[in-house]
Amino acid sequence: MEDKQAIWGRLAAGYFFCAALGAMVFAVIAFLDIISSPLDGKASGTGSFLGLAVAGLGGLLLLAELGNKKRFLLVFSRMQSIMTKGALFLACFIVLAAIYTSFWFDIFPWAGANAGRRVIGFLGIIFAVALVMYPGLELGEARGRSFWNGSALVPLWLTAALTSGLAGVILVAAVTGASIAPAIALLDKILLALIVTKVILIAAYIMGMRRAAPEEARRSVATLLSGSLKNIFWWGIVVCGHIIPCFLYFGGSGAGILAIKSLFVLAGEACLRAAFLQAGVRVSLPGEDNEWYQEEEIAVLAARLEQTWQERAAWLNGK
């Protein structure tokens, strides 16, 4: 019986987090750009570059998760596969985000606030949204892991991604000194709304799964609330990701406070991805509750025994 989902581990969680963060930082900046409510140019340039970089890092994490990295291009082989779709979204997003970012840097001849930038920004937003939506559907395909329900996971992860995007932009603005821009104050309010929405979504998700029929969904919830994931859930998601940021709203809107708040939100987001990913345990096989050893333990034991036999052989039959 799985006590945690361990097939996709930290790298995958990191990928989901980075992709969502990068995509949404980008999306917020491009959106503000399109609706002509410009941020400080420095903040936008740095922000979209960071969005690109973070998404790129996510891509690298994804690559690192592959068992056979040399063949990674094959991931684009089957358009029917949601994995292929996701990889495509990521690739397109990165290309578009790179082009878009270049518009903010004067070294490129096409730089400047032109229509091209907006068009590319718009296309980029489309792929950014696709990139944050597909993971919910992807996990939802695991029929034996009922905790991952596609139609509930998509809005949650979208909200969460948006939260991290906003936090990311606010963080950039705070660091680049653009935090006084009126847009930021607005973003800060939207962020609060999103945090509250997310609390509701998470609570509803967990309550729903707790009452769900499949045994593994209930096991997932138990793992989160009181099992091996309880620390990351309560401290990481609830306290860091939600309660502390909410409290920080009482601390005014100084750049420092904004930056700290954003960091807490981001930490909470990272925990959310990691916890939800690990919580998706598989439906247990008949009798799996009687199993004593996880597969990894068996592998370790095998290696240890073989090692001992090697040493013993030298002693026993060596000359």
Partner: protein, 731 residues
């Protein structure tokens, strides 16, 4: 040889079944081992051990060369020597002990199967020592001998396929003899055969039973007697057979009156109605058979009483030697059986008298053997082999080594056996082994016992030797199998060893056959197939099943003094035992030892086979070990809760003899007052300094083998009803 691919017909020696195996050999290298579809037992199948046979053959920790001890005993320091050097030195020392202390100062311990035991006995008879032991008192022999005393052979060949009811008593073929289990299930599927399982534990087999009788461990005798009571009082027995072919029925009737189902219910924890119902099912579903089960050979002083009651049950229900019943095969009439190879006649009378334990365990030693064989030879023309059926008592042997009483024992040759894990009272065994002047161990592995040896000799396994399956020469069929490859490295078969040592001891004229194949060919010649070599026999004939005859007693009579089934056994009476079925409580139980039960309130079942291991074997076959890495003790949830023990916790199991730890398997398969520990555990991966962890989990370290608690007729010690306490291992 280059480029040759052969398929050899070998037989697996990883358990008694001797399943047929096809071994694909390429240029003298084993490439693949599969089940032989033509073999009547396994029909092409394998158990996990057989499937992993190549792991065993090629394991890098097999002993490949003779090793001589160079450090202190048990220190684990050896140097490689030649066979010649080893044999020469062993022979010289044996001669010296024989001269100084008499041949009886040299003993030998053997294992279950894997060897040609007659060769060992031949060597020992020629040497002049009667002190040959196996775990025979706790494996098959008590049942075999008691049955033989009562009806002149053991009815150990139950014809399940034709049976209407099979009683599986203290036996779990679902974990030990898989082909047998298949037979059981197929009999039910095809013929509606009823399966009655008697086992304190909800075993693999019990889980498939029609009727499961979960008796208190060790109370088998009470159950058997209550069945007799019901069957006799309700007149469900075979009156014709009883009338014509038995003696002592009236005394039996009288005797069993006290053993009512209500009386038995108290002893067995099984409701009286259920006992009676099962008895009726058994008695009225004829033909029926009762399978042999090893558990009832391990009840200490209650052992032969169970066998006796059960033998009588079979007889009065008219199941003896009928189709679908308990068939008594008798010896194979023509080929040369084990007993004919043993040269027992060469062991002088005064040496026989010295057999350790013969003064008290009379049925399983020379006194009983002689009485039985007289009858058997008269009726069947052949008797039982002395190997297994006529042996010194292991507990008495260990004590003789330790105390020098009744005489000194100086040397022990151990083959296919690991006494530190396979005999009760392991600490005592350890002390005995430590005290020997010469310990020779022939084995596949450096076992804890081998670690203590002066010489460790490399043994060939079944892929490296031919196997002649003859059930020690007590059944009417044989199966011949060949070697897949010649022994690797300097491994030898046990036959090669005894022959070589025999020659060094001046026995040359008795060992004319150079190889296993030659001697097997010699034994088979009389079958009259006219084949040149043993290999021809394997390829062309392989199976020889004498035409099955039933009701053999009609012509021959039973091989007992009266020629009938002796419900009141004159042989047992002559030997000084109760001739009629009677109740004996096992030596350790709340009833037998209430003071002990105050401190050790739980009943321990020490043993029971489980896959994928066989006895103490296979712990170093990584692939198998991964299926079952650690020992488990079964504990009922109620008891576990009371003691604060959780699934997988390490748990101390403690008796007055010692304590070991195993991991808790919390299961309702056993009742709250009982725990069951696994047998045979040692850890080949642990250090030689700690004797490969032999004291950690080896349940035999918790068992007592005090001869006073052993079976008076056969010397069986008690493993299936022991008093213990358990506690969570802290820290």
């Amino acid at each position: 040889m280059a480029g040759t691919i052969e398929v050899k017909k070998a037989a697996c020696y990883f358990c008694h079944m001797n399943c047929g195996m096809l071994v694909h050999v390429e240029d003298g290298v084993v490439k693949k081992v599969t089940g032989d579809p033509e073999h009547p037992f396994n029909q092409g199948a394998q158990c996990p051990r057989g499937a992993a046979a190549m792991d065993h053959l090629n394991h890098i920790n097999r002993v490949n060369y003779p090793l001589k001890r160079v450090g202190e005993r048990g220190e684990g320091k050896f140097k490689r020597v030649s066979w010649e050097e080893a044999l020469e030195d062993i022979a010289t020392r044996l001669k010296k002990y024989k001269e100084e202390y008499g041949a009886e100062s040299i003993a030998t311990a053997g294992g279950t199967n894997r060897t040609d035991d007659w060769a060992r006995r031949r060597f020992f008879n020629l040497l002049g020592s009667p002190n040959v032991v196996h775990t025979s008192p706790v494996c098959w022999i008590p049942n075999f001998l008691i049955e033989t005393a009562i009806y002149g052979w053991s009815a150990f060949d139950p014809e399940i396929m034709g049976s209407r009811c099979v009683v599986v008593w203290g036996h779990n073929p679902g974990a030990s003899y898989l082909p047998e289990m298949r037979g059981l299930l197929e009999a039910r599927e095809n013929n509606g055969t009823k399966i009655i399982v008697i086992d304190p534990r909800y075993s693999e087999t019990a889980a498939r039973a029609d009727i499961w009788l979960p008796i208190r461990p060790g109370s088998d005798c009470a159950l058997a007697l209550a069945w007799l009571n019901v069957i006799i009082n309700e007149e469900l027995y075979d009156a014709d057979f009883v009338e014509n072919w038995t003696v002592g029925f009236e005394e039996l009737r009288e005797r069993v009156q006290e053993y009512t189902p209500e009386w038995a219910a108290e002893k067995t924890w099984v409701p009286a109605e259920k006992i009676a119902m099962a008895a009726r099912t058994y008695a009225t579903s004829r033909p029926a058979c009762i399978q042999w089960g090893v558990a009832t050979d391990q009840l200490g002083r209650a052992t032969s009483a169970v066998a006796q009651a059960r033998a009588v049950l079979r007889a009065i229900c008219g199941n003896l030697d009928v189709p679908g019943g308990d068939v008594m095969p008798g010896p194979h009439p023509t080929f040369i059986t084990d007993v004919e190879m043993e040269l027992n006649e060469l062991l002088p009378e005064e040496q026989r008298a010295k057999q350790l334990g013969a003064d008290r365990f009379k049925l399983s030693t020379w006194p009983g053997y002689k009485l039985l064989n007289e009858q058997l030879e008269r009726v069947w023309g052949k008797g039982l082999p002395a190997e297994w059926m006529c042996e010194a008592s292991p507990p008495v042997l260990w004590r003789a080594i330790l105390t020098g009483k009744p005489y000194p024992v100086k040397a022990l040759i151990v083959l296919a056996d690991n006494p530190l894990t396979s005999y009760a009272n392991s600490r005592l065994v350890y002390e005995a082994l430590s005290k020997l002047d010469l310990l020779v161990v022939m084995d596949y592995w450096l076992t804890p016992t081998a670690l203590m040896a002066d010489y460790v000799l490399p043994a060939a396994s079944w892929l490296e030797r031919p196997v002649l399956t003859t059930t020690y020469g007590v059944s009417d069929w044989l199966i011949a199998s060949e070697r897949a490859v010649q022994p690797l490295y300097e491994r030898k078969t046990d036959y090669d060893f005894w022959r070589a040592l025999g020659i060094k001891m001046g026995q040359e004229e008795y060992w004319p056959w150079l190889t296993n194949e030659e001697v097997f060919q010699y034994r088979l010649e009389a079958l009259g197939y006219g084949l040149e070599t043993y290999e021809d026999f394997v390829q062309g004939v392989r199976f020889d099943f004498a035409p099955r005859e039933y009701y053999k007693y009609v012509e021959k009579g039973f091989a007992t003094p009266s020629g009938k089934v002796e419900l009141k056994s004159s042989i047992l009476e002559t030997l000084g035992y109760d001739p009629l079925p009677h109740y004996v409580e096992p030596p350790f139980s709340p009833e037998a030892t209430p003071e002990l039960a105050r401190d050790y309130p739980l009943i321990l079942i020490a043993g029971g086979g489980f896959m994928p291991f066989y006895h103490s074997e296979h712990r170093q076959i990584t692939r198998l070990r991964l299926l079952h890495p650690q020992p488990r003790v079964a504990i009922n949830p109620e008891l576990a809760q009371k003691l604060g023990i959780k699934e997988g916790d390490w748990v101390w199991i403690e008796t007055p003899k010692g304590k070991v730890k195993q991991r808790a398997k919390i299961t309702t398969a056993i009742p709250p007052g009982v725990v069951q520990a696994e047998r045979g555990w040692w850890y080949p991966e642990k250090g030689a300094g700690e004797l490969f962890g032999v004291w950690e989990s080896n349940i035999n370290a918790c068992l007592d083998d005090d001869p006073d608690t052993c079976d008076p007729a056969c010397g069986s010690w008690c493993t299936r009803s022991v008093l213990c306490r358990i506690a969570k291992v802290e820290g």
